[in-house]
């Protein structure tokens, strides 16, 4: 019988033990009787001969090895009784812990997705990513010549490379849609271990054929275009205007390298040797380490004279690190630390709550100690009670975590997450919560339990006189910090709310809602040259304007108000050299289309674009951040790309614009509008303002494009405010995370206020009783309890205001603006009073006779 069977059959074992012992004793008695003893004498001698029955039975039970579990179950039963006896206390403690654990569940799930879960390729751990970076860390793609030089190295066991493009995909019958196309080398798909589940992979002949007309597609696209994956194999689709035959379909979950929809052999692009377009993965032979690979590859590239300059260096990182952060990166460490801090704060507050309740149970504990219970036994019992609270909190936190992740996902556009990022409540997260729950039991339960069993028989209020004051001082300081941080975080939330209000008002009131935006991709070979692209756009603009429904058509490089290409600015009177701004290439009609006149200066002219553009228009946020009170128009700035190695150029600010929905003092990125060079890019944003609402223009736009070229795809066709909102999901998610953290921190601080006040009332019962006996009224007692809370609140508010001011100075966000700060101070003060008044009521109900009698 193993220990589990012994545990499950313990009633039967108990009965058998009884029977066995009774049989033995009766045999002994019978023998003594037979030897001539009286009944009483025989029983006495038998008992002496046998030993202490209860003690022997205990020894037998211990031999079973299950008594610890039996005791634990008994403790749990008592814990459940205590839990249900005080539902108010239990729900507050569970709520506090659940908030702390819930925040960590969400945080852990994010960390798990981005740092701990590797890429979903069987061989990802053995692969390394090779890139070339300049002195500023900016990455540059590789050229075919460079890849060939690396492929010859003896340490390289295998390599694969690809380039990604957005292009037009359609069936002969459907309209074109914008898709991600991966052009892959012959070894790439076998290298990562992915194969189509329908049809076949590319053959080696297809990889060599520059006229290859075969393609592989993703399962989702197959279902969308043909109804099923099986139906797609063998069918024709048009990719960037050329017809290709689908030879295979990848399964769901295989969209390597980054949400690709279509795969084609790289040879079909016929890249020249110096086309810097390739991303390279290598598998190194066992002897070669990743650390030693970079210098080796760099040496090879220099020997082949295919590295452009001495300022370029090779970087080799494990493939997982290219797509995932490392958990040791400072940003992730800060993220994880923030989560743990929340748990620690929750534990400290619950610990105070438990101590306050424990004081009321001093008598019960003293009685149990005097009846023979060991201190260890009582500590275990108290920890079991905490365990019940934490188990309930863990269950609630999983729900909070699930709801939090669900909410988070609802804010992120489906295409914004990499296909492998499953931001869900994984089993790993469940185990994490259980693990952190166990730590929580110790963190929140151990200190009060040890404090309560310290000196049995001595009233708690008397023995904690000195130590209690020390604990009280720490608790008070801790509470002041919590209030101060709450003020800071709520100020941040207040500003976020103002931003949302500004955006909502702007979207409703301004003319931006009448502007239709759409992405247009001119990726097919027929638009390989700039004049062809510009011809298409000019003709489209002409057709739209001639329809009579469209007043303005503008072409831009990115949506206004969102992040375009990041560039670093410096030079002249600029306050923060090296700051990164978003640059958006726009044409001369851009501001007219938006209906936003310039605040100062002048708009671009058509000639600005032709010149290559030395003029720039900036938004008011840019002007405030980089020039403060200085006049901006006429200033010169030096601009350098933050992502590629293009040389810097100097530009003159010719105008300042204010975009509706952005408050220059509060939010919005600093923007720099540069004149759009005609046909510079295959991707452009079309902006249309018409005499009809934006939605009405969508059909007209689609018809016009379809008429001009059915292989040109439109994307994100929607009213400008909607498109901007979706494009700025990243900022929205960050703001929501900060707001959630602020609210959780605030809730915990208020629970801390309640716990500390309750603890204070419990430990001051004797003093309060004497005050009542000396004539104090209930109101005076409440004031006596609330006095220290007011002091802590005042210090916390001042500390919070100072923190907010420091934050404002450091980050430029005006969170310490007087109206915002005043609202937060009123909110925190009122809530603190409310939460401390609840336990302080008990002070008003102190009965001196009962209290002094109990302590005496």
């Amino acid at each position: 019988m193993n220990w589990l069977q012994r545990l499950l059959r313990r009633d039967r074992l108990e009965q058998e033990l009884d029977d066995e012992v009774r049989f033995h004793l009766e045999q002994l008695v019978a023998d003594y009787r037979a030897a001539g003893s009286s009944e009483a004498d025989a029983r006495r001698r038998a008992a002496r001969e046998f030993g202490v029955v209860d003690s022997i039975k205990d020894d037998c039970r211990r031999v079973r090895g299950t008594d610890w579990l039996v005791d634990l179950l008994a403790d749990a039963r008592i814990g459940l009784r205590v839990f249900s006896k005080e539902p108010g206390f239990s729900s507050i403690a569970v709520g506090a812990l659940a908030l702390g654990l819930g925040v960590n569940t969400v945080f852990f799930s994010i960390v798990n997705t981005y740092c701990l879960t590797g890429l979903p390729y069987p061989s990802a751990a053995q692969l390394a990513d090779v890139s070339i970076r300049d002195d500023l860390g900016r990455e540059r793609a590789l050229s075919p010549a460079q890849v060939r030089a690396i492929a010859d190295l003896p340490s390289v066991a295998g390599l694969g490379y690809y380039t990604m493009r957005t292009g037009a995909v359609r069936t002969p019958e459907s309209i074109a849609t914008r898709r991600t196309i991966a052009y892959v080398s012959d070894d790439l798909l076998p290298l990562i271990g992915e194969t189509p589940t329908r049809g076949r992979a590319f053959g080696s002949a297809e990889y060599r054929d520059v006229h290859a007309t075969t393609t592989l597609i993703a399962a989702a696209l197959a279902r969308e275009l043909f109804g099923s994956e099986a139906a797609a194999v063998g069918r024709d689709i048009r990719v960037d205007g050329a017809t290709a035959t689908i030879v295979g379909v990848f399964p769901d979950g295989a969209r390597f390298p980054d949400n690709a929809d279509v795969w084609a052999p790289l040879s079909s692009l016929a890249l020249s040797d110096d086309a810097f377009a390739l991303t390279l993965f290598v598998r190194l032979k066992d002897a070669a380490t990743i650390g030693g690979a970079a210098p080796m590859i760099e040496r090879a590239l220099r020997q082949h004279s295919v590295l452009a300059s001495d300022r370029q260096h090779v970087s080799v990182v494990p493939l997982n690190d290219r797509y995932h952060g490392r958990v040791t990166d400072p940003a992730w460490v800060a993220f994880i630390t923030a989560g743990f801090l929340v748990v620690v704060i929750a534990c400290a507050n619950v610990s105070n709550l438990l101590l306050a309740r424990g004081v009321r149970r001093t008598n019960e504990i003293a009685i149990r100690l005097s009846l023979g219970a060991t201190r260890g036994r009582i500590v275990r019992q108290l920890l079991a009670e905490t365990l019940i609270l934490v188990m309930a909190a863990c269950a609630a936190s999983l729900f909070f975590g699930w709801a939090g992740l669900y909410g988070l996902l609802a804010m992120i556009p489906r295409t914004a997450l990499p296909y492998w990022a499953a931001l869900d409540l994984s089993w790993r997260a469940v185990f994490f919560v259980i693990g952190i729950g166990a730590v929580t039991v110790l963190l929140s339960g151990m200190a009060p339990a040890l404090q309560l069993v310290k000196v049995p028989g001595v009233p708690f209020t008397a023995r904690t006189a000195t130590r209690g004051r020390t604990i009280g001082r720490w608790s008070s300081a801790f509470l002041v910090i919590q209030i101060a941080i709450s003020v800071l975080l709520l100020c941040a939330v207040g500003i976020t709310l103002q931003v949302y209000r500004t955006l909502a008002n702007a979207a409703g009131q301004t003319q931006l809602a009448q502007v239709l935006s759409a992405g247009v991709t001119l990726s097919s070979p027929r638009y390989a040259v700039t004049p062809a692209r510009e011809r298409f756009l000019t003709e489209l603009r002409r057709q739209l304007l001639s329809s009579g429904q469209v007043q303005f058509v503008s072409i831009a490089g990115a949506l206004p108000g969102t992040r375009g290409e990041p560039r670093m600015v410096a030079g002249g009177a600029i306050r923060e050299p090296g700051g990164v701004v978003s640059t958006v290439a726009v044409d001369a009609t851009f501001f007219s289309t938006l209906g936003v006149p310039l605040v100062s200066g002048q708009e671009f002219t058509d000639r600005d674009g032709d010149r290559g553009g030395s003029s720039v228009v900036v938004n008011d946020r840019f002007a405030q951040l980089f020039f403060g009170a200085l006049a901006v128009v006429g200033q010169q700035v030096r601009v350098q790309s933050a992502t590629n190695a293009a040389a810097p150029d100097t530009r003159t600010i010719v105008g300042v614009v204010h975009l509706p929905g952005a408050n220059p003092a509060v939010n919005g990125p600093p923007l720099m509008f540069v004149p759009r060079t005609a046909g510079a890019s295959t991707d452009a944003i079309l902006l249309l303002r018409g005499t009809v609402p934006a939605d009405g223009l969508a059909a007209l736009l689609r018809e016009s494009v379809q008429r001009l070229d059915p292989d040109v795809p439109l994307s994100n066709v929607r009213a400008l405010p909607d498109a901007t909102r979706e494009a700025s999901w990243n900022a929205r998610v960050s703001q929501t995370l900060i707001s959630s953290l602020a609210l959780v921190g605030f809730c915990l601080a208020m629970i801390g206020v309640a716990a500390l006040t309750a603890h204070r009332v419990a430990t001051r019962v004797r003093e309060l009783s004497i005050r009542v006996a000396l004539g104090a009224t209930p109101a005076m007692l409440v004031r006596a309890v609330l006095g220290p809370v007011m002091v802590q609140l005042s210090i916390g508010l001042v500390g919070g205001a100072l923190l907010a001011r420091g934050w404002q100075r450091a980050f430029g966000s005006p969170i310490a603006a007087s109206d915002n700060l005043a609202a937060v101070i009123v909110l925190v003060s009122a809530t603190t009073l409310l939460f401390s008044a609840w336990p302080a009521r008990k002070a008003a109900r102190v009965n001196p006779i009962v209290a002094l009698h109990a302590d005496g």
Partner: protein, 114 residues
């Protein structure tokens, strides 16, 4: 707390196994046999046998079965398992070696232990 016997630690298990090796016995009979065979030298509070019996049963050195005793009442009879027999042999050999060594030391090193 049960009264302690003055047997060296670990010997009670071996003695119990030895007694049960001859035939299946219940706890009371085992206590009697221990006294009889040792001619009252081995005296343990009889109750202390039970934790030892249960421990040996849990270790699968003994197997137990409820069946009618000589008085007609049901009693729990313990018998030696194959594993118990092997364990007993190993323990007895070890004990004999130790006893011979102690004897040799007492005899002043005149007879070397085998």
């Amino acid at each position: 707390m049960a009264a302690k016997s003055d047997l060296p630690q670990g010997t009670l298990d071996m003695l119990v196994l030895q007694v049960v090796a001859a035939a299946p016995l219940h706890g009371y009979a085992i206590a009697l046999r221990l006294r009889q065979i040792s001619r009252d030298v081995v005296k343990v509070p009889q109750g202390t046998l039970y934790p030892a019996l249960h421990r040996l049963e849990n270790r699968k050195l003994l197997a137990a079965e409820w069946k009618p005793s000589e008085t007609g009442r049901n009693a729990k009879f313990y018998r030696l398992t194959a594993r118990g027999r092997a364990h007993l042999k190993a323990e007895s050999d070890s004990w004999e070696r130790l006893a011979r060594a102690i004897k040799a030391i007492q005899d002043g090193g005149q007879g070397e232990p085998a």
